[in-house]
């Protein structure tokens, strides 16, 4: 040590910055605590991250897109570079989107990146939500995150819908017409809500501007706030983890924030960006130049919303046209039941699931260790049943295309779907629960009897015996005892012995 005052030695850049921050803000203790936080790893934990990173991509690409999009329904003539639509009367919204697609450098890539990121965003949310459900991560103390998550899901669905509907092209305009119809079908307040959005009978001249501000400012703001809250809760309460070697209720087994978890996260973000970029660059999505501008007098065959809204369309298609006449003066159209009531009920059930779960399960303990889906057959079966219903409704939403492509009679297909809505979910419930119980039993049987290796032994001439690889329970001190199931995954495939003795 030399005596050079308070600058005794040379530091790296990081060290220099850290020392400066510490002098000014005194964050070392806080930061060290955060840096030493441990994050577990499992392949299913990636889906939540995927949602986050695709949201980041959405924000970035969305910001650039707002520089070029004009949210206005003023009618102009298209005089841009795309020859097949030259001379068409269209709104400035559509014309500006055409300009982005055809005239702005990288504009089409940007649009496709944004749209693909939205599709992946919603898929990742649903996968993530399914993981939370099937592993019981919504249980105490994490119910609030579940509620936040369901709200984010609904907001995201709306966000996506508004995003592609504000372009005023023929396909999405059809969807807005359906939306308008659904809103109008709400009893008592329907026409007022419709006027709040459209300011006139459909289509009016203002809805694109309102969709725009909702899509660009209001809903992203809400989403950002909710995401921040969601992540803060996860950060503070610590991420759940599966039972495994040394993993218990009272600890977390995994990697620390720095360097490993941060590196993995950054890599995942870049990877997501890369894959979305590849998709955006090679796979066409939402080609509004094929569909042309919206006119209420036209509808394309096989019009479909984005995939995450297909279940709504399916619900509309399958419900019978049951208009309800009230007092001979008012009519509640059939679309209200299937377009408003059914979705609202389903979403409310989804939202309230942690509370509903308390009816089913009297366990009030805090849980930091995740369940394997098989270890709670009832919950897994209910989840499978819900997914089946969602799946049937989604497939019903696209059944006009399926009927054409696979040359199936549409009427027959429709009635099959109607029957499937009632028959398949209970069937799936029963089958899934039985499957889970069987899997549980197979785990315990494997622990008791060992795993078949496929090798056959001949202990005596004329007798054959299957060679089994047994399990051994190991104490923390290294002693052995009979193996018991404790929630960790039981391998069913044998591990080959390393040459030179056991492990």
């Amino acid at each position: 040590m030399t005596s050079r005052g308070y600058r005794p030695r040379r530091l790296s850049v990081t060290g220099y910055v850290a020392r400066g921050a510490e002098r000014r803000f005194q964050v070392a203790g806080l930061l060290r605590h955060q840096i030493n936080k441990v994050f577990p790893w499992h392949f299913s934990f990636f889906w939540g991250e995927l949602a986050l990173y695709s949201f980041v991509v959405l924000l970035g690409s969305g910001i650039v897109l707002t520089l070029f999009f004009v949210p206005s329904l003023d009618q102009v003539t298209y005089q841009g570079s795309y020859a097949p639509t030259y001379g068409l009367e269209a709104s400035r919204a559509w014309v500006s989107t055409m300009q982005i697609s055809v005239d702005v450098h990288g504009g089409l890539f940007l649009r496709q990146l944004h749209h693909w990121a939205a599709l992946v965003f919603l898929a990742a949310i649903m996968l993530h939500m399914a993981r939370i459900f099937f592993t019981g991560a919504y249980r105490a103390p994490r119910e609030i995150n579940w509620f936040l998550g369901v709200v984010m899901l609904v907001v995201a669905i709306f966000e996506g819908y508004l995003g592609y509907s504000m372009l005023d092209d023929l396909l999405s305009g059809t969807g807005v017409r359906i939306f308008s119809g659904i809103v109008l079908s709400v009893p008592v307040i329907g026409t007022w809500v419709h006027w709040m959005i459209f300011q006139s009978p459909f289509p009016g001249e203002i809805y694109v501007e309102r969709f725009f501000i909702a899509h660009v400012l209001l809903l992203p703001g809400i989403l950002l706030a909710l995401i921040a809250l969601h992540l803060a809760v996860v950060w503070y309460q610590k991420h759940t983890h599966f039972k495994g070697p040394r993993a218990r209720e009272g600890n977390v087994v995994g990697n620390r924030t720095l360097p490993v978890f941060a590196m993995h996260s950054v890599a995942a973000l870049l990877g997501t960006l890369g894959v979305l970029g590849l998709l955006a660059g090679t796979a066409q999505i939402n080609p509004i130049f094929h569909w042309g501008p919206y006119t209420p007098a036209q509808v394309s065959n096989g019009s479909q919303p984005d995939w995450y809204a297909l279940w709504l369309i399916g619900s509309l298609k399958l419900f019978p046209p049951a208009d309800l006449s009230v007092g001979g003066r008012y009519t509640v159209p059939g679309g209200f039941w299937s377009g408003v009531l059914v979705p609202v009920v389903l979403i409310l059930l989804l939202f309230a699931w942690p509370l509903i779960d308390r009816l089913r399960d009297s366990d009030r303990e805090l849980h930091n260790v995740l369940d394997r889906p098989r270890d709670d057959p009832g919950r897994t079966a209910i989840g499978a049943m819900a997914l089946t219903l969602f799946g049937v409704l989604t497939l019903a939403g696209t059944d006009d295309i399926s009927a054409t492509v696979f040359s199936i009679l549409l009427e027959a297909l429709r009635w099959t779907e109607r029957a499937a809505v009632f028959v398949l979910p209970p069937l799936v419930f029963v089958v899934t629960r039985r499957l889970c119980r069987r899997l549980q039993r197979s785990d315990r049987d494997a622990l008791a009897g060992g795993i078949a290796t496929g090798l056959v032994d001949q202990p005596v001439e004329g007798a054959y015996r299957s060679v089994q690889q047994p399990f051994v329970g190991v104490d923390p001190e290294g002693g052995e005892h009979a193996p018991e199931y404790d929630g960790a995954r039981v391998p069913k495939t044998p591990t080959p012995q390393r040459p030179g003795g056991g492990s």
């Binding site: 078949a452 001949q458 690889q469 391998p491 012995q497």
Partner: protein, 170 residues
């Protein structure tokens, strides 16, 4: 040819004789059919050839010591399911068009991942006393576990630093 060698090759000889009989019957077609349309002859000979190839395979396997009860088996058959799924997918692609391949490879990816080694490697032991499994997956340990003593010491130091930061005696 010695006795045991003939005996060992007997299965292949049966197949070979059968294929020869077929070839002879095929040859007899020539007496009855104009050579202008030899498809029956070709078909019959191809059939006999297929059986001959099978017979040669049996011969080779028999000589390499492949005779005797099958004592090494795969312990599950995910590969069969995966292979048949691929075949079904290709059939559907042929019927409905190439776009099928764009929509449906994801379960196949899962299947490919699941088809890890289905048979123990050749050097796995077959004697009684197969190895026990101590832990399902080896857990890499970068440094020794933190014992309670180390934790207590670290806590002590941390508290001392906090007190120093607040200006109290350490």
């Amino acid at each position: 040819m010695t006795g045991p060698a003939v005996k060992a090759d007997a299965p292949a000889h049966i197949v070979g004789l059968w294929a020869t009989l077929n070839a002879a019957l095929a040859g007899a077609i020539v007496l009855y059919v104009e050579p202008l349309f030899p498809l029956p002859l070709v078909l019959h000979l191809v059939g006999a050839a297929l059986v001959t190839i099978f017979g040669v395979a049996v011969l080779v396997a028999g000589r390499r010591g492949g005779a005797g009860p099958q004592l090494r088996l795969p312990y599950r058959s995910v590969a069969a399911l995966a292979g048949a799924t691929v075949a079904l997918l290709l059939a559907l692609t042929w019927v409905f068009g190439l776009w099928v391949l764009a929509l449906v490879p994801y379960p196949l990816l899962v299947a490919v991942v699941m088809v890890r080694r289905e048979r123990l490697p050749v050097d796995a032991t077959t004697q009684a006393g197969a190895p026990g499994t101590r832990s399902p997956v080896p857990v890499p340990v970068e440094r020794p576990l933190t014992t309670p003593e180390v934790c207590a010491r670290a806590l002590e130091i941390h508290h001392a630093q906090q007190r120093r930061g607040r200006g109290e005696a350490t």
